[in-house]
């Protein structure tokens, strides 16, 4: 007994291979298997068609970037009051410390744009697009160590096993394009901390969703997508002949066996062939004009940098990729924070701002949602010894700052507030699940309805929690 959807799917597939006998033209494929038809599960209009998630792995300090705390200059080197710390759990790295001296930011803050938001001098160019941004200063999480925290941000659970954000959207919305994966992952290593935290394939994994929803890495080294290049001695024409031959043989097999899976495989070989030209075209930045490189910065010419990945993100967005997940590593600044975070911010400041400006000038910012966030914040107190010019900061789950821009989100606002120490949220707290619910909402998905039944339970990205943060919706 089958649901009408299943019957219809099968009918369509039979229809499809009824036609395919007359030729393997891509026109037939595109009209019958039009992917956009899948993209309509919304309960309300989608404001964003896609997400570019600029994940800052290792957890950037909010104190040096987005959460301006002028009083700390006066409180510098004083002991963090117990009333602020409130007996909170610390990591094993500072729980043994005798003193918790306040370290104020070494970096100046100023106001930017019409909206007058405060940004650190390290993010002055991001400040330049302040009027496009929604800065949330009241994020908080439940995890205090990287592995669980980053897993929580990306999968809604601290423990392994759940699908990643991108996998959920791929599953829920399908693709807008026919030549690229719907969920693409780009990784860059920061200059701020060579000894960066690891990333984990589960962060873009499919969890218990069907595995076609896992993220596909777009790499700067070797093949941009694994195994996309033909081996030596196989030129495009030879490859075309081979694929044609494979599909002819597969079609004969289908005639004999009748299994519709065979026709699905035929379509995938056609797709693979198309990808072999669309992916090199995607990653070839040589046609980008000089002003684009001026905009994103010189690093954009170096494959594997955050700048280059931001430019690629724009190109992916143009091509209708649904979920573009960047990871920039190296924010885990327990020691030598001033030096390390300067470099790290330099990596991201210009390219992030450029991405916003570039999307905007192409009219893409209206339906692209850009998110800049790490997995937690950092402590106001110094990890280790507070020196005149140097300090470090430990992990801090109780508050951190992120920004968003684009489809569905208010422009030029700041949301939420922390206390004078940037230690506790005092207004409009936003939990990780709330952020996830909000991002899904912008994509037109009710986070309570995007479910998958696994081991008897209807799982969600937001577990059993999450409230859409309505005040920031445009």
């Amino acid at each position: 007994m089958y649901s009408p959807q299943e019957i219809e799917q099968r009918l369509t597939r039979r229809h499809f291979f009824g036609r395919i006998g007359t030729g393997l033209g891509t026109a037939a494929l595109s009209s019958l298997l039009n992917p956009t038809l899948r993209a309509s599960p919304a309960q309300f209009p989608a404001r964003a068609k896609r997400i570019i998630y600029l994940f800052q792995s290792g957890a950037p300090s909010q104190l040096e970037t987005l959460d301006y705390k002028p009083l700390l200059t006066k409180l510098h080197a004083t002991e963090l009051p117990d009333s602020i710390r409130g007996g909170q759990r610390l990591t094993g790295m500072t729980s043994g410390q005798k003193n918790f001296p306040v370290a104020s930011s070494k970096f100046r803050f100023s106001q930017y744009g019409q909206s007058g938001g405060w940004f650190s001098e390290l993010l002055s160019q991001v400040g330049g697009v302040a009027d496009e941004l929604c800065v949330i200063k009241s994020m908080f999480t439940e995890a205090i160590n990287h592995d669980p925290a980053i897993t929580f941000m990306q999968t809604g659970s601290q423990q392994p096993g759940r699908p990643s954000f991108g996998a959920w959207t791929s599953y829920g919305l399908g693709s807008e394009n026919r030549e690229l994966p719907e969920f693409v992952v780009l990784i860059s290593k920061g200059t701020g901390l060579p000894n960066a935290q690891g990333l984990l394939s589960r962060l873009w994994g499919n969890g218990f969703l069907p595995s076609q929803h896992q993220g596909v890495k777009l790499r700067s080294q070797g093949d941009p997508i694994l195994y996309i290049s033909n081996p030596g001695g196989i030129d495009p024409k030879t490859r075309q002949t081979m694929i044609k031959g494979i599909n002819e043989l597969n079609l004969l097999e289908h005639d004999a066996i009748g299994d519709p899976e065979i026709t699905a495989r035929i379509a995938q070989y056609e797709m693979a062939y198309r990808m072999q030209s669309s992916v090199p075209e995607l990653t070839d930045l040589s046609r980008e004009p000089k002003q684009i490189f001026d905009l994103y910065g010189a690093d954009a010419r170096k494959p594997g940098t955050f700048a280059s990945n931001c430019l690629l993100a724009r190109r992916l967005a143009e091509r209708g990729v649904r979920f573009i997940q960047l990871y920039h590593r190296g924010w885990d600044q327990h020691t030598n924070l001033p030096d390390h975070i300067s470099k790290q911010c330099h990596d991201v400041d210009q390219p992030s701002a450029a991405l916003i400006a570039d999307l905007k000038q192409r009219g893409l910012l209206d339906d692209t949602l850009v998110v800049w966030a790490g997995e937690f914040g950092r402590t106001v107190y110094c990890q280790g010894k507070l020196e005149s010019n140097n300090y470090g900061r430990d992990h801090h789950p109780r508050c951190f700052s992120i920004w968003m821009a684009g489809g569905g989100i208010k422009r030029g606002i700041s949301f939420g507030e922390t206390d004078d120490y940037s230690y506790n949220v005092i207004r409009d707290p936003v939990h990780v699940h709330d952020l996830q619910a909000t991002l899904l909402h912008c994509l037109g998905i009710d986070h309570q309805r995007l479910t998958f039944k696994h081991q008897g339970r209807h799982y969600r990205l937001t577990d059993v929690h999450g409230q859409v943060v309505r005040p920031i919706l445009a």
């Binding site: 060579p194 081979m242 097999e253």
Partner: protein
């Protein structure tokens, strides 16, 4: 029958349908909601069976708030048992047998006011018209409850009446046929001999048949040829390897420790134990018992201890700053989840933070079960970062253990003779030489340095070796010693000189010394290379286990002792309340789940789909079995056959059901697209490991070696470093590719890094092994095409296949093409197929004749050198044809 979809439930229904398909990427066929058949409303005439028809509806839509979870129960209403459902509730019983209109349950699910209607809008659940009709019919027919089928012990079902067709070969077929006939379906004819040979060979050893095996099978026209084939396969060592692969998923086995640092781990002795257990056909009850409690078996053998690694294969963290106890408890929880999923087909993990929403497992039940696995002397934090994590034991292979024992035997007499001779020499020396004592306060007159090697006449350098620190042994170092004034020599230095002098004067002693050094060095080397195994152990004094509020490590809430969930019969009074007692309980013949879950797993390996589709969930939310009686018959049969896995596999693969052709007509496709009712043979894509092994085996490139450390075949450079912690002392460094035969081992021996699993395997749905997984999805993506076309593993295999075609395929293009096709598919090509192969060969032959450099470039792929006896143009052209064959749907599919 169609299902009217209530619009607000649309998304959820879509999910379900997509989940079942699992074979699209990037596009999904046109879905038109408008044509949804509006057939709901009545199911009249049909008998409603609670377990089949009603429980799934109530469980999925109602139990969340009206089920076993006491704390979250709404309106004090419980619908998961008859008594509560029928309670008076101040004159408003939920269920009045025979009277839907008087049943509050029915009134509420059909209420016109959305605020009153159940399930409530914010639950995300909706009932279809058909489901509502079923509930109505059920109430009308008396509203009777049944215990959940899977919680009652399987009973031996009666045989369905034998059909006259004579089709059935064994009881399996009788059950299958009965169901087919009920649905007006007919079984398919038997598959062609060659295809059946290929199917059963792939299914039992995970490899394709060779040409010789094809010929032999076709030539064996005596009765019982197929049975002999099955026996041969079951006796192959390759069988154990093939069976082990999916068990590694279930047991989340990997070669790294997982989490952030994901450092290397070397627990392959456990993996090899699994392979051996399958090859030796260890009865499944012992397979379970030894893995769960091998260490607790009296006088446990090394192998039995190694097997307990099953419960140590989980992730273990070495991330700085974590709280030890939090993670230690995480590991215990992982064991509970794994054991309950793999052996019970239940997700007990749901009850970690609250009572289970669907199955009668309370949070207290959960922690009582937790207590079995909470007694390990372990820590949450892996202090050494890299390598196996305590508790570990030395786990020499049988060869190593043998050599270790031999060495001990060989060393003993040498050592005692050495001692004898030294003792005698010491006595003699003491007689000759009195002990000189330096007078206090005066320094002995320095003697001139001895430079002349002649002074060494009476001492002989000893290759004393590192194993026994007896000091320096070279001539130079002896000279240095001699130059120290005797009174200033340390005891050890005197010993060296003494032994050296003795060796110079006693040649027998010198020989003994050399022998001893050689043996003890070998002993030390053996010790260094002996693998260890991560094992289960019990603490000397038991650790208390507490219910943890909301599952939090620091919120204990009432002590519990080890027990199995209350819904089951409990451990017998004389059984120990530990893992051994638990294992014995699991394998009781009247256990409702263990045998069912086990046979369902075997069935799935062969048919691609379980009798219960949800292998990992036999609970209230799990799938209803397609053939309940067959499942119970198989479960009871497995116990009768003393849990003999090979015997059960033999039974299934010799059934007529299994031997059917897998061809399908459009009519049958429409009636049973997923082949649930088995009117045709199984046909589905090979697993990731099988696709690799098949490609390596066809040209004979595969290197068969049973067990051993994991290997590192081709992998694109930089994959590890782009994600790994940038500190080699944590990450264990970048991927270092092996060379030589290690490149061509079977897929199950590939080094498995959890945070960056082997890319080609994971493209074909291999999991990352971070947690227990009972079944893999079978996706179909363009990335898979790219792997088969471009991964050096497959390109090199294609070239070797081409060499084989040239060597063994005769001399004409036609004979070679036939040979190639036959090797790859086990059948002869049709003329139309042959034409395509020959046409493309000719075309590419011409192409490479014009571009020999391209031919050489293609032949240079892979570490092995190409065979120069062949014309490069021929070889390259055949390589492209071979590569096409390795890409064919038929070749990567078991059909």
């Amino acid at each position: 029958m169609g299902e009217l979809v209530i619009p607000s439930g649309e998304l959820y229904v879509r999910r379900k349908s997509v989940q079942k398909r699992a074979s699209y990427w990037w596009f999904i066929p046109l879905i038109s909601w408008a044509i949804a058949a509006h057939a709901g409303g009545s199911t009249s005439g049909r008998e409603v069976v609670f377990n089949r028809d009603i429980r799934p509806i109530l469980s999925d839509n109602c139990f969340q708030c009206h089920g076993p979870d006491l704390k979250r129960r709404k309106g004090k209403l419980r619908l998961d048992n008859s008594e509560d459902a029928r309670a008076d509730r101040e004159g408003m019983p939920a269920l009045v047998p025979g009277q839907p209109d008087k049943s509050e349950l029915f009134r509420r699910i059909t209420h016109s006011d959305p605020g009153e209607r159940m399930p409530p809008a914010d639950s995300g659940r909706t009932l279809s018209v058909r489901e509502i009709a079923l509930l109505k019919d059920w109430i009308q027919q008396g509203g009777t409850y049944q215990s959940h089928w899977a919680f009652l012990p399987p009973s031996r079902p009666g045989m369905p009446s034998q059909s006259a067709t004579g089709w059935a070969r064994n009881p399996i077929d009788q059950f299958v046929l009965a169901e087919l006939e009920r649905r007006d379906l007919r079984p398919s004819p038997e598959a062609e001999k060659t295809l059946l040979l290929r199917r059963v060979t792939l299914d039992l050893i995970g490899l394709p048949p060779t040409i010789q095996e094809i010929e032999a099978f076709l030539g064996d026209t005596l009765p019982g040829a197929y049975d002999r084939l099955v026996d041969r396969l079951l006796n192959s060592e390759r069988y154990g390897e093939h069976m082990a692969a999916p068990w590694l998923d279930a047991a989340r086995y990997a070669d790294t420790n997982g989490y952030n640092n994901d450092t290397p781990r070397y627990n392959w002795r456990w993996r090899d134990w699994v392979i051996a257990a399958f090859n030796q056909n260890l009865p499944f009850d012992q397979f379970i018992t030894i893995q769960l409690a091998g260490d607790l078996i009296p006088q446990a053998s090394l192998d039995q201890k190694i097997a307990t690694g099953f419960n140590r294969n989980h992730n273990i963290t070495s991330e700085g700053g974590i709280i030890d106890e939090e993670y230690r408890l995480e590991y215990v929880a992982d064991r509970v989840q794994t054991v309950s999923t793999v052996f019970l087909g239940l997700s007990m993990g749901c009850a970690r933070c609250h009572d289970h929403k669907f199955d009668p497992i309370s949070q207290k039940d959960y922690y009582a079960f937790f207590a079995f696995f909470n007694q390990v002397p372990e820590e949450g934090y892996h202090h050494e970062h890299v390598g196996n994590v305590k508790p570990v034991i030395d786990a020499p292979t049988s060869e190593q253990a043998l050599r270790r024992d031999q060495l001990a035997v060989e060393l003993a007499p040498v050592a005692s003779q050495i001692e004898l001779r030294e003792a005698r020499a010491r006595r003699e020396t003491l007689l000759v030489r009195g002990k000189r004592v330096a007078s206090a306060g005066t320094h002995p007159t320095p003697t001139p340095p001895i430079r002349d090697a002649s002074a060494l006449d009476r001492v002989s350098p000893l290759p004393l070796g590192t194993a026994h620190a007896a000091g320096p042994t070279s001539q130079d170092s002896l000279l240095t010693l001699l130059n120290i004034i005797p009174d200033y020599r340390a005891e050890a230095q005197e010993t060296v000189l003494f032994k050296s002098r003795l060796a110079a004067s006693d040649s027998a002693y010198a020989v003994l010394r050399t022998q001893w050094n050689r043996l003890s060095e070998e002993q030390a080397a053996l010790r260094r290379t002996t693998p260890t195994a991560m094992v289960m152990q019990e603490l000397d004094s038991p650790r208390d286990t507490f219910v943890l509020k909301r599952g939090q490590y620091d919120k204990p809430d009432g002590k519990v002792s080890a027990a199995v969930p209350g819904l089951f019969p409990q451990l017998s009074a004389e059984a120990p309340a530990n893992r051994l007692g638990l294992a014995q309980w699991l394998v009781r013949p009247d256990h409702p789940l263990t045998a069912r879950v086990a046979v369902n797993r075997l069935w799935t390996l062969l048919f691609g789909r379980g009798i219960v589709e949800t292998l990992e969930d036999f609970g209230s939310q799990g799938a209803w079995p397609t053939h309940p009686d067959l499942l119970d018959w198989l479960a009871t049969e497995m116990i009768q056959r003393r849990w003999d896995t090979k015997s059960m596999l033999r039974l299934i693969v010799t059934s007529a059901t299994y031997r059917q052709s897998s061809s399908v007509t459009p009519a049958l496709m429409a009636l049973d697209p997923d082949n649930r009712f088995l009117a045709r043979g199984p046909r589905f894509r090979l697993t990731a490991e099988m696709i690799r092994d098949n490609a390596l085996a066809l040209p004979g490139l595969i290197h068969h070696q049973l067990g051993g450390p994991s290997v590192r075949p081709y992998q694109p450079p930089g994959l590890w470093t782009e994600v790994a912690v940038a500190d080699d002392s944590y990450s264990g460094g970048d991927y270092r590719q092996d060379s030589g035969s290690s490149l061509y081992r079977r897929g199950l021996y590939t080094w498995w890094k959890r945070t960056c699993p082997p890319p080609a395997l994971s493209t074909f749905d291999a999991p990352d092994r971070e947690f227990c997984q009972m079944r893999r999805s079978r996706s179909d993506t363009p990335l898979q095409a790219l792997v088969l076309l471009n991964d050096p593993t497959f390109v090199e295999a294609a070239r070797h296949l081409a060499e084989r075609i040239l060597l063994e395929g005769g001399t004409s293009v036609q004979s070679r093409a036939i040979f190639a096709f036959r090797l790859a598919t086990a059948r002869r090509p049709k003329p139309s197929e042959l034409d395509i192969l020959i046409r493309i060969f000719e075309q590419h032959r011409l192409h490479y004749a014009n571009d020999v450099a391209a031919a050489h470039a293609l032949l240079a792929v892979g570490e092995s050198k190409s065979d120069t006896q062949w014309d490069a143009r021929d070889l390259a052209a055949w390589t492209t044809v071979a590569s096409m064959l390795l890409n064919l749907d038929e070749v990567i599919t078991k059909g």
